[in-house]
C-alpha cells in the first residue's frame, strides 16, 4: 500500500490479529479436552491468565482473574484476594488495557464478530454506558459476593453466575455438549446466560466491542491503570499536524491527540496505522 518503512509500533498493530489468535490458543491450550467433556485441573490452574477466559472452558490453561477474585472473596476462609489483586496491579501497571486489545480471547471474539459485513453503528453517543462496567465491578464482583452469604460466610460468584457471557460460550456450551450429565443439569440459569450471550453477539456485530466498553469488569480494572501503565501511546507533538485522523478511526471513541492514555483506549493501534505523519507510537517505560 505504501512504501514507507513501518515502525515497530506499526508492525505490532498490524500483527494484532495474529497476536490475539496466539494468545487465545495459549490461554486455551488443552484442546483435546473439548472432546472429553472435561476440564484441565492441573497445577497451572492456580495461575491467572491475563484476559477474560473462563476457568471452566475444557481447554483453559489457567484461571480467569475475575472468577478467581470472586471465588476468593466469596469463600468463607478469606476476606480479600491479595494474590489476584496483586496480579491485577502487576498487569495493570505493565500493560494496562493493551491486554484487552491484544491478549483477551473474548475481545478477539468480539473483533471477529464485528468483521461480519453489515451496517455498523457508532457508539459515540452511548458514552455514559461506559460507566456501567464500573458499577458491575463494584456490585457484582466485589460487594455481592462479599455481602450476600450463607450462614457460614460463603457467597456466590455473582458476575460469573449471572452475567458473564464468556462462561456460557467457553464453559457451559462445550461442557454440556461433551458431557451428558452436565447437559441434563442445564436449567433456567443456562437459558438466561444464553440470552445474554446472544445479545452480546448481536451487539458485537452492530457495534465495536460492546462488552468491553460497557460490561467487562476486567476491562474496568485495567482501565484504571491506563494512565500509569509502562506500556502506553505517545503522540509526538512535533510531528502531529492536528488532522484528527486518529480520533476518526478510533473505535473506542477516544480523542487520541488530547487523551492518548484515556481509560477506554485498548491500545489496538488503529490510530498508529492511520496517522499520516507517523506521529503516534507505542512506548514502553518511556521509550
Amino acid at each position: 500500500m505504501d512504501k514507507r518503512k513501518k515502525s515497530l509500533s506499526g508492525q505490532t498493530a498490524g500483527m494484532r490479529g495474529w497476536i490475539q489468535a496466539a494468545a487465545t490458543l495459549l490461554t486455551n491450550i488443552h484442546i483435546p479436552n473439548f472432546f472429553k467433556g472435561k476440564i484441565y485441573q492441573g497445577n497451572a490452574k492456580t495461575v491467572c491468565v491475563p484476559g477474560l477466559n473462563c476457568y471452566s472452558c475444557p481447554a483453559a490453561t489457567g484461571a480467569c482473574p475475575i472468577g478467581a477474585f470472586q471465588a476468593v472473596i466469596g469463600s468463607s476462609r478469606f476476606k480479600f484476594s491479595y494474590y489476584v489483586t496483586g496480579f491485577f496491579i502487576l498487569l495493570g501497571v505493565t500493560l494496562g488495557r493493551f491486554i484487552c486489545g491484544f491478549l483477551c480471547p473474548f475481545g478477539w471474539f468480539q473483533d471477529l464478530l464485528h468483521k461480519i459485513p453489515g451496517k455498523k453503528f457508532s457508539t459515540a453517543r452511548l458514552k455514559p454506558l461506559r460507566y456501567l462496567k464500573y458499577m458491575i465491578l463494584i456490585v457484582f464482583v466485589i460487594l455481592l459476593p462479599l455481602l450476600v452469604t450463607n450462614s457460614i460466610g460463603m457467597g456466590d460468584p455473582f458476575f460469573c453466575k449471572y452475567i458473564c457471557p464468556q462462561g456460557v460460550l467457553e464453559g457451559a456450551i462445550p461442557l454440556s455438549l461433551g458431557n451428558a450429565a452436565i447437559r441434563s443439569a442445564l436449567g433456567k440459569l443456562f437459558t438466561w446466560k444464553c440470552f445474554i450471550l446472544i445479545t452480546v453477539v448481536v451487539l458485537s456485530i452492530l457495534f465495536y466491542r460492546p462488552f468491553c466498553k460497557w460490561i467487562c469488569p476486567l476491562g474496568a480494572i485495567y482501565s484504571l491503570f491506563n494512565k500509569v501503565s509502562l506500556l502506553n501511546i505517545k503522540v509526538e507533538d512535533s510531528k502531529c499536524i492536528g488532522c484528527g485522523q486518529c480520533s476518526r478511526v478510533c473505535k473506542m471513541d477516544v480523542d487520541v491527540c488530547r487523551h492518548p492514555d484515556h481509560p477506554e483506549c485498548i491500545r489496538c493501534g488503529a490510530c498508529i496505522k492511520a496517522c499520516p505523519k507517523d506521529a503516534i507510537h507505542y512506548r514502553f517505560m518511556g521509550k
Binding site: 500500500m1 490479529g17 489468535a21 481447554a59 471477529l112 460463603m154 456466590d156 462445550p174 450429565a181 443439569a185
Partner: protein, 302 residues
C-alpha cells in the same frame, strides 16, 4: 490490499478455530456413537427376538405336520401339571411316556422323532433367552458390573475408623454425595442429605459424604469439613478416601459439584449421577424415585 489479505487469512483461521473450538462437531460425534451403541444394542436384541420367534414357529410347524398324533397327546395333558419353567421337551416326553399304551407303533415313532427335534430347538431357545436376559441386565446400567470403583473400597471416617466395601453390602442402597468444603451449593444441601439419611435408615439405606478436599487423610481439610457439617447439622458419615484408589479417581473425574450417585449392595453404581443439590425439588424427586427402584430391585433379589 495487504490489510485485506491479512484480514481474510485471519478470518479463515478464526472460522477454522471456531469450528474446532465450538466442540459442536465432537459432541455430536459422541452423541452419535452413543446412539449407535444403544441402537446396536436394540438391534441385537431385536434379532435375537426374531430368532426366538422363528424357533417357536418351527415347533408349531412340527405340531401342525403331525396334527392328529400331537392333538391326541395334547388331549392327555393335565393343565394342573403344566410347568412352563421346566424343559418343554421333557414335559412332552413325560406325558407321552405315561400314556405310551394309547399310541400305535407308527404314532409312537412320529412322536419320539418329533420330540428329538423339539428338544434341539428348545436348547437353542434356552441359549437365546439367556443371551437376552443378560443383555437386558446390562443395557440400562452403565457397564459398572465389572469395573465399579466401589467394589474394592476403603476409607476412613472423620473419627479415624476404617471402612471397606462392607459399608455398601450392609444396605440395599447407599447414597454417595461428592462435595468439597468451598462449594456453596454443596453446603446448601447438607441438611437435606442429613434428613435423607434419617429417612433412609428405616428403608435400608444410608447417606455417605465424600469430600474431595479430605482425600488421603488430610487432617486440616477434615477438620474444616467437619466444622461445616456441624454448622449445617449434618451427622451422617463422611469419608476420607485415597485419591489414587478407584473411587478417588472416579471422584476426581467429576466435573460438577455436588454430584450424587447411588450404589447398590454389591458395590455397583446404579442409574445416572444426579448433578446439583437435592434442595432442588426436581433433583430430590428423581433421587427418591431412583432410591425406591434400587430398594425394590434389592428386595426382589432376596
Amino acid at each position: 490490499m495487504k490489510t485485506n489479505k491479512k484480514f481474510l487469512t485471519i478470518l479463515t483461521l478464526c472460522i477454522a478455530l471456531l469450528l474446532t473450538a465450538c466442540g459442536a462437531t465432537d459432541a455430536a460425534g459422541t452423541d452419535k456413537t452413543n446412539e449407535s451403541l444403544t441402537e446396536t444394542g436394540t438391534v441385537s436384541t431385536d434379532s435375537s427376538n426374531t430368532a426366538l420367534n422363528d424357533l417357536y414357529q418351527q415347533e408349531n410347524q412340527i405340531f401342525a405336520d403331525h396334527e392328529a398324533v400331537w392333538n391326541k397327546l395334547f388331549g392327555m395333558m393335565s393343565k394342573s401339571n403344566a410347568d412352563p419353567s421346566g424343559n418343554y421337551a421333557d414335559y412332552l416326553a413325560d406325558t407321552a411316556e405315561a400314556n405310551k399304551d394309547s399310541f400305535t407303533e407308527d404314532e409312537w415313532k412320529t412322536l419320539t422323532d418329533d420330540m428329538e427335534t423339539i428338544r434341539k430347538i428348545e436348547e437353542q431357545i434356552a441359549g437365546l433367552e439367556q443371551g437376552t436376559t443378560a443383555a437386558d441386565n446390562t443395557a440400562p446400567g452403565n457397564n459398572s458390573e465389572a469395573d465399579s470403583p466401589f467394589r474394592n473400597f476403603s476409607g476412613q471416617d472423620f473419627d479415624g475408623n476404617s471402612v471397606d466395601e462392607s459399608l455398601f453390602s450392609a444396605n440395599a442402597v447407599t447414597v454417595v454425595n461428592f462435595w468439597f468444603t468451598g462449594c456453596k451449593p454443596c453446603v446448601a444441601e447438607l441438611s437435606m442429605l442429613d434428613e435423607l439419611n434419617n429417612t433412609l435408615k428405616a428403608m435400608g439405606g444410608e447417606v455417605i459424604g465424600i469430600n474431595t478436599e479430605t482425600f488421603d487423610g488430610n487432617e486440616i481439610a477434615m477438620k474444616e469439613a467437619a466444622a461445616v457439617l456441624e454448622s449445617q447439622g449434618a451427622q451422617y458419615r463422611n469419608l476420607s478416601i485415597d485419591s489414587a484408589s478407584d473411587a478417588g479417581k472416579y471422584a476426581s473425574d467429576i466435573m460438577a459439584f455436588p454430584t450424587t450417585i447411588l450404589v447398590d449392595r454389591n458395590g455397583n453404581i446404579v442409574g445416572e449421577p444426579i448433578l446439583g443439590g437435592i434442595d432442588n425439588q426436581d433433583n430430590y424427586d428423581s433421587l427418591m424415585q431412583q432410591i425406591q427402584s434400587v430398594i425394590d430391585a434389592d428386595s426382589a433379589n432376596q
